[in-house]
Amino acid sequence: MSQTLTENAPLTAADGELLTVKLAREHRNKQLKAVALVAPLAIFLLLTFLVPIFMLLGRSVDNPEVVTHLPATSQLIASWDRRALPSEEVFQAMARDLTAAKEAKTVPEVAKRLNMDISGFRSLIQKTARKMPLELAAGESMRDRFIQMDERWGDPDHWHVIAKNAKSWTPYYLYSSLDLRETKAGTPELAPEEERAFISIFGRTLWISFWVTVFCLLLGYPLAYWLANLPARKSNLLMILVLLPFWTSVLVRVASWIVLLQREGLINSALMNLGIIGEPLQLAFNRVGVYIAMVHILLPFVILPAYSVMKSIPPTYMRAAISLGDHPFAAFWKIYFPQTVAGVAAGALLVFIMCIGYYITPALLGSPEEQMVSYYVAFYTNVTINWGMAAALGSLLLIATMTLYGLYSKLVGANKLSLG
């Protein structure tokens, strides 16, 4: 060996470069390669998944109607003192804007938006727009003419609504989704009792999800325990009975549950033939049907993680506890159960997260009383075409889901998620 290792001499690679430098570069290259491999998927999801969702979130505060279609009024009303009626210029601007909107056929959009705040505003706008353009007599003010046409134009409350919506964003939809409304001062207050709806829908969504999760745990845990402690041959065979429904289309299962649960269905006719009941029970198209079908769909999501956790627990622990004098139940509770809690809780949390976004099952197997938040997002999108409400409800649902998912990632680590 021609080279001798002297003390404190920095280590070099074969080509004479410092080893630390070379290693750092190698490490960086490896990182870059990793990022380059992940990048295509990240960009893909950004464009097809994240951007669309952010657009939806944006829609929940978007308020374009008044600003776009009544531009002059929107600009002038900003300097209104909000006490007496707006000035003559504002009325004149309104007349000009409505004339332009009538020509552009955008009156219904403005009318629909303003009607959300005060009912009857739609007809007021439409009626006024029909009379545009106005010819004023000498010395007559536009304000007097408007009030003469309909005395509601002399009511500051109506102008308040226009002023409130003369901004390109609004908290209106988010407030409405929480059964709140904006006071004149701009602070939120609880809507009158008869107008409240969404808090109870959110409550119902969480309530149904909670019970589905509880039922999944009550059925899934014992079954997973039984399967995990059977001989491998037997448990693999029985596991197929868990996996087959898991792999079967949700729609197939919902259709089957309708067959089983409907008034003339198999369960009712069996119970009647056995003489247990005299009248068919109402099992489908109510809460019972929704619970049964949702538990059926989500049960494997508890069984599978619970089973894999239980498989990893050596049976000797329980035996040791029992041989040391513990009652089998005590041994189970003190030794076995604590080892399964983390894995099973993760599965349950996942079930709960999936539940709160459910749409298909309640839509097909529930009455209006079982519809959850997702249903109303779809309803406002498809039926009333109210993007603001659809987006606001969707945003709140998304926030709830993401909070729970964040918790889940913290507890489990998204990278430790496994399937079956």
Partner: protein, 274 residues
């Protein structure tokens, strides 16, 4: 097994626990067992008892343009989405497991998120995004969104397989003179193949069973099989649905058997490699 010296209470507990578990298993499979015979009923209602048998609902399913179009659309969208999701997901999983880089765990959470975001939100968002581009009512947009929904499964299964992968095998291969491509083809790919394929099956099943996004994004021409079933269940539930369901159940049995076979193979390769 119950020891012979078990007390009556232990016996009672043992058997009631068993019966409880068997009942849960019956609960799990009964819906699948119930719907299959109805598809052979000659009746126009989905009701038991079946009075006479016929294949008329299969004729309806395979002879009716609506159902066939739906089946065809499903077989256009699902394979395309699967191919895209498997390619992108496998590359990403290799990247995620090969090295640590800042923000990796956050990125992982984002890549998995399509699995937990409520589908209605994905559907409405996709509609808002694709409609102004003139892409609603197109196969293209539907395939892209179905890909996004399938990606998490591929990332999860492939990452899991890669974590169990012994990196020394790559080094051994390289030290024996194989270049990286040969190593990848002959060593890495055969070992991670079961993970990739099972991820692909999950992605396929996700797209093949997807209704909600299709509801918002697809026009009448892109109606898929689940979408057609959804409409059928909502409007008039006829045994044609049972026929469609039976076809789908056969399909899921095929998927499941493939998956189990892969699992068995993976186990074998792993134990023989170790």
């Amino acid at each position: 097994m119950l020891p012979t010296y078990a007390s009556p209470i232990e016996r009672l507990w043992f058997w009631s626990f068993r019966i409880f578990c068997v009942l849960i298993l019956i609960f799990l499979v009964s819906p699948l067992l119930v719907i299959v015979p109805l598809s052979f009923s000659a009746d126009t209602f989905l009701l038991y008892p079946i009075k006479s048998f016929s294949l008329r609902w299969y004729e309806e399913f395979f002879g009716n343009g609506v159902w066939l179009t739906a089946l065809k659309n499903s077989f256009i969208v699902a394979p395309a989405a699967t191919l895209l999701a498997t390619t992108l997901g496998t590359l990403a999983a290799v990247g995620l497991t090969s090295s640590d880089f800042p923000g990796k765990s956050v990125l992982m959470s984002v890549l998995i998120s399509p699995m937990v975001v409520p589908v209605v939100i994905v559907g409405v968002g996709a509609y808002l995004f694709f409609a102004p581009l003139g892409l609603s009512n197109s196969y293209f947009a539907l395939i892209l969104v179905h890909t996004a929904l399938g990606v998490p499964f591929v990332v999860i299964t492939v990452s899991a397989t890669l974590r169990g992968f012994n990196a020394n095998l790559i080094r051994a291969s390289a030290s024996l003179g194989a270049n990286p491509i040969t190593t990848y083809r002959r060593i890495v790919l055969p070992l991670i193949a079961p993970g990739v394929i099972s991820g692909a099956l999950f992605a396929f099943a996700t797209s093949f069973d997807e209704v909600v996004v299709t509801l918002f994004l697809a026009g009448p021409e892109q109606t898929t099989l689940p979408r057609q079933m959804f409409g059928g269940i909502k409007e008039n539930i006829s045994p044609a649905i049972a026929a469609a369901a039976t076809v789908l159940i056969l399909f899921s049995i095929a998927l499941l058997l493939t998956l189990e076979w892969l699992r068995g193979r993976a186990e074998k390769t792993r134990t023989s490699a170790a």
